[in-house]
Symmetry: C2
Subunit: 152 residues, 2 copies
């Protein structure tokens, strides 16, 4: 993983519709060595995939909620059940186990409050022991990017 690889990654995480020729030009290579680098980065799992980013507003999914969860349940069995349940909920775009006061944090994207309420009920009923669940709602998304800070 040299500087050229990093520059390729920085470019691709901004726009993966760049052609091999454009990428190669940007890093002063010809297409073949550039292509080999991309294959290597894919096989190494550094490039996890290529996705289209969609506009949530235009798709009627304008409500972003963050859910903070505390629980008394900490068995590994309960945990796998919880993770499986949350995994199966497509409204959950992000899910983290946290250090500190709350045990879990979730980012949820839905159409409106009615849909959020619906999601919330499904969530608290999906596993036992979700007693302390607090929801916070976003008024505005100021910044959102999938691009990691690779500094180029």
């Amino acid at each position: 993983m040299d500087k050229t690889d990093r520059r390729l990654l920085a470019l691709l995480q901004q726009d993966c519709s760049l052609s091999l020729q454009e990428l190669a030009d940007a890093v002063n290579l010809t297409t073949t060595p550039c292509w080999k680098r991309l294959k290597r980065l894919e096989e190494a799992g550094i490039i996890q995939g290529r996705v289209a980013l969609l506009d949530p507003e235009k798709l009627g999914l304008g409500l972003t909620a963050f859910v903070l969860i505390k629980t008394q349940q900490h068995s590994s069995q309960w945990y796998s059940q919880f993770v499986a349940a949350v995994d199966a909920m497509p409204e959950v775009l992000g899910f983290w186990r946290m250090a500190g006061e709350y045990d879990y944090l979730m980012r949820v994207q839905v159409a409106d409050m009615k849909r959020y309420d619906d999601f919330y009920k499904r969530l608290v009923n999906s596993v036992p022991g979700l007693s302390d669940v607090t929801s916070s709602f976003a008024m505005e998304q100021i910044k959102y990017t999938t691009a990691l800070p690779l500094e180029n």
Copy 2:
């Protein structure tokens, strides 16, 4: 935006390296009408772009932090200054203005605690009036997806 468009979007937000032929097959079209739909969805801004998703761990960016911010400053001038400052910080992957107790929530990705501390100092010095800033750290990322819940 009919059902076919939605199915195309659902596919592309999972994997935009699918060829036009594969996409067309999946929605029972030939390449040309399928291509025209994609162009329409791009021009409408529903497809915002195509990006490569990278593995943060493998790039040495394993620390995810959430930053909650309260402020007394609410002038539009202060706000644009704050937004511009945060925008310029590549460690910030998500930034929301919130309803409720805290005014802002941020998702930050960095290498380690040392780098986080560095970021934190830059943040609180970027604009005046960031008195109440609390950081929470993720122990584990359980789920992360850019795919919106389009239900297909």
